[in-house]
């Protein structure tokens, strides 16, 4: 039997319940997503590799186990994709970059091992900006697979650098995906593609087996349909890992009702809508009206005055130049897709060690000062991006010429500060703007307080239906399994 499209747009919570009660076959579900990936993936530039053989093997195993009463938990039998910077044994792992398009590893990244252990079914490796944007790309066409397109409007970018995960979740090619963020690479594609995503606290999730851009800033996290789903996924992937010294030993558990419910206390970033697109501001103001029903809103939250963006830039430039030293030394950077990426890594080789150390000394000060602010709130909210998605074929500077946003501030109001301090952030759709493109709000919180963000965002999603909206996809179908 075919799986109805309504099911494919379901949340993990919904899919899981249907699988557990054997109303939905993991094999049929995997087959439906595989066919959708094959049919629609190229349209969105979302896919690098479809892992059909592995997917069906894992789905059959899940089906057998569940039939035998051995249900592993909410991800058992649920398909997913990963950004193509996570190693999976035997498959191509391209990092989105032409110099690595034939690269393979013989092991699964820790996060993939954990999802496998949870019974999830890997169906695809998803497109990404080359090197996760580490060499300073300035346009959507910065991957050897071409630009990924938001399913809401194919003339516009899906966001980056976790482009494929954004597009694939939005178009129901997968019910969830794993993305990565160094500075904005989960939250931006969530905003531009209209999906929900969590940037966990730095150290919450092991990066072993993931491409490194910036060891001290890289995070892995889920991109999916609901905040509740983020919790389900995070519970499967969080935890210490001897192969990643940054992975925290702090325990993480998630239930839909945790933490104990009370009225939230939510801060609103001061001047959060200054200079953003009018429609982005309108969506944000409407979100505040919804949040006021479930939270005490504290206006005008100010961040301590530090050069977050500059310190983050310097750290990423220096660490990126080291991480991709081989690419620079051999000149293979010339093979990258975006012209600006072919030279963009070289300036990072000139960062003085003393200046790098200054940046990471400052990060300690920033982290402590930010924690003092965030400790007062369950979350601080701001628009995820100052504009809707950028048009494909134009440089980012020319994308929305009438919205002169200094990057790092109004472009992503909390992006630099939250990322350099390793704070968690949860982006959820909150409306639509120009060209039928989605807008988004981000809940940012204190380190290791993901559950507060999930609870607040879930309460918001319980009162809105933006996360349930579907992009207009012509010709989409869910063919029967072969």
């Amino acid at each position: 039997m075919s799986v109805p499209e309504d099911v494919l747009y379901g949340s993990i919570r919904e899919l899981s319940e249907a699988i557990r009660t054997r109303k939905l076959s993991p094999v049929e579900l995997a087959e439906a997503y595989l066919q959708r990936l094959e049919q629609l993936g190229p349209r969105f530039g979302a896919v690098v590799t479809i892992t059909r053989e592995r997917a069906l093997r894992e789905a059959r195993a899940a089906e057998r186990e569940i039939a035998a009463g051995q249900w592993r938990g909410p991800l058992h039998g649920v398909p997913y994709g990963v950004k193509d910077l996570l190693s999976t044994a035997g498959d191509l792992t391209t990092w989105g970059a032409a110099p690595y398009r034939e690269q393979r590893f013989d092991f699964d990244a820790t996060i993939v091992q954990r999802l496998t252990k949870a019974g999830a079914v890997l169906v695809a490796k998803l497109a990404m900006i080359e090197l996760a944007g580490g060499f300073g790309y300035r346009q959507a066409d910065a991957s050897f697979t071409g630009p990924a397109r938001t399913p809401w409007n194919l003339g516009y970018w899906a966001g980056g650098s976790s482009s494929g995960p954004g597009a694939a979740v939005a178009a129901a090619l997968v019910p969830f995906a794993i993305g990565s963020e160094t500075w904005g690479s989960i939250t931006t594609p969530c905003a531009f593609s209209g999906v929900t995503g969590l940037r966990p606290t730095y150290g919450r999730v092991s990066r072993h087996g993931a491409m490194a851009l910036s060891w001290s800033m890289d995070k892995l996290g889920p991109m999916c349909r609901t905040a509740d789903d983020c919790g389900l996924i995070l519970a499967a992937i969080a935890g210490p890992d001897p192969l990643d010294p940054s992975a925290s030993t702090r325990e993480y558990t998630y239930t839909r009702d945790s933490p104990a419910r009370r009225r939230f206390r939510i801060g609103v970033l001061k001047n959060a809508t200054a200079g953003v697109q009018e429609e982005v501001a309108a969506s944000f103001e409407a979100s505040l009206r919804v949040l006021a029903e479930l939270a005490d809103l504290v206006p005008d939250v100010e961040l301590p005055d530090h050069p977050y963006g500059m310190a983050a830039s310097l750290i990423i430039d220096a660490e990126g130049a080291s991480a991709f030293e081989d690419l620079l030394e051999t000149g293979r950077a010339a093979l990258l897709t975006a012209p600006e990426d072919r030279h963009g890594g070289y300036s990072g080789t000139t960062v003085f060690a003393k200046d790098y150390l200054k940046a990471i000394r400052l990060r300690g000060v920033m982290s402590r000062d930010l924690d003092a602010v965030f400790a007062r709130y369950d979350a601080v909210v701001s628009p995820t991006r100052g504009t809707v998605a950028f048009p494909i074929g134009k440089s980012f500077n020319e994308a929305w010429p009438n919205v002169p946003m200094p990057p790092g501030t109004r472009a992503q109001p909390l992006g630099a500060a939250a990322n350099i301090a390793g704070l968690p952030g949860l982006a959820v759709p909150n409306g639509f703007g120009r060209e039928g493109l989605p807008t988004s709000i981000t809940f940012t919180g204190r380190a290791f307080e993901e559950n507060l963000l999930i609870a607040a965002a879930s309460a918001y999603q319980g009162r809105t239906d933006w996360h349930r909206r579907r992009p207009p996809i012509a010709g989409a179908s869910s063919p029967p399994p072969q």
Partner: protein, 109 residues
């Protein structure tokens, strides 16, 4: 993120935006102080920009065209402005880099 280098170039002596304020740090925290960047900082960096660009040319020139080296030069200029801003912030000697070296002892893991 996409426009990191443009960010570094753009900020110069600009503020980070209206959402930040001067903190009242707790007693244990160092007090960051910012020295205003001199208006002519970019010009003052010209010799350093030249020197570092030549370093890139020396090390990687075989892989880069003159036009690309020109763009690397722009990136270096922006990076030096960033460094200038960070260096202008004073930290006490006790403010450690936010990394911890872990001594390795085989077999412990």
């Amino acid at each position: 993120m996409p426009t990191r280098r443009e960010f570094a170039l753009a900020v110069g002596a600009a503020t980070l935006g209206a959402c930040v304020r001067t903190p009242s740090p707790p007693p244990s925290a160092p007090t960051p102080t910012t020295t205003p960047t001199a208006p002519a900082a970019a010009d003052a960096n010209a010799p350093a920009v030249d020197a570092l660009t030549e370093l890139v040319r020396h090390r990687y020139g075989a892989h880069l065209s003159e036009a690309q080296i020109g763009m690397v030069r722009d990136d270096i200029r922006g990076g030096l402005r960033t460094s200038d801003r960070l260096r202008a912030i004073r930290l006490p000697n006790s403010a450690e880099p936010d990394v911890v070296f872990t001594v390795h002892r085989g077999g412990d893991r």
